[in-house]
Point group: C2
Chain length 194, copies 2
């Protein structure tokens, strides 16, 4: 498996020498997932963080009424996992599965700890990563508070136009927090407006 994408992603934030790169790569494990395969299911402990080389994953919960709610999508160059379960080693409430055939690189809890110890620059790398993720989530929260479903859909397709292409409406609805039926109605309404 080819880690070029991951290395260039890291190179954007910190500079590593060849030794550090070698160490880092030795701590990773590749994995491929067929469409619809699960990476994590509710009740399991999340043992690794996953970097996506190719494909598309979704992180979601299933509520008491059986409805799916997507907390995040992951595509190329994104990290996914359940951080809470990963850090506390407690059972997760999330499911993660593949919407497309997907290739990932995994780093386990022990290996990540080792990485932080041996290459402290990675503290900086993940600090920046979480910082950016925090900002993105805060914007999503603010949007959910301020906007109607129609505005949120509008924003979603302008913010992630290429992602929307890859998803079914059902997935988009589960991310926006509305029913697929209602999303269908919104789309119909939009056609007239344009």
């Amino acid at each position: 498996m080819d880690a070029t994408l991951l290395l260039s992603h890291i190179d954007r934030h910190i500079q590593l020498d060849t030794e550090e790169i070698a160490l880092f790569l030795s701590l990773l494990q590749p994995k491929t997932l067929k469409r619809k395969a699960f990476l994590l299911t509710q009740g399991e402990i999340c043992h690794a963080e996953h970097f996506i080389l190719k494909g598309c994953l979704r992180v979601y919960t299933i509520d008491d009424n059986g409805f799916e709610h997507i907390v995040m999508f992951g595509v190329e160059e994104w990290w996914v996992g359940d951080l809470y379960s990963f850090l506390t080693q407690t059972p997760t409430q999330y499911f993660i599965d593949a919407l497309e055939d997907t290739e990932i690189l995994q780093i386990s809890r022990q290996n990540l700890d080792k990485l932080y110890q041996q290459v402290p620059k990675f503290e900086r790398f993940f600090r920046i990563l979480f910082q950016n993720a925090f900002i993105a989530q805060q914007q999503r929260i603010q949007q959910n508070l301020s906007n109607t479903a129609e505005m949120r859909y509008q924003d979603f397709i302008t913010r992630y136009p290429q992602l929307e292409q890859r998803l079914s409406q059902k997935q988009v609805a589960a991310y926006l927090g509305i029913t697929p039926v209602f999303l269908s109605m919104l789309r119909k309404k939009r056609q007239f407006k344009k």
Copy 2:
């Protein structure tokens, strides 16, 4: 101003020697805010991150219809600011003001950069901080997707019982994403149930 609270907060995640502590403290600036005073208003650039020693702040937007939406509260031992504006040095979309008389310690962009350079352990500190903030936000997003207003209110008061005491219903409503009128109705309903 007394930085004990901040130092013990930091000590939970990283260990500093006396020199490092001295350097860190030299990079901070104290500030007091009277109730209703603004720390940041829409259009300004956020020049510092703020650690709360005492008091209560709110971070919020005002939407096109003039409604306030609170993205986070800050009380003792929390950091607040607009990270996006802080990092990109672009105008913020948020307001931050004090709900109580408040004492904070500020660290400017330049001083934080200096801190990262001179005491890399702070990369780790903020990595952990953002990591935890990310988890908390993800839980909030998941809740907003899954739950009705009534459940969200229930969860809020069990999760932050002491915070709710300090807030008006209007503030709680603006955080939950509902109108004060509707929150009042929910509270009335709850009284019967108990």
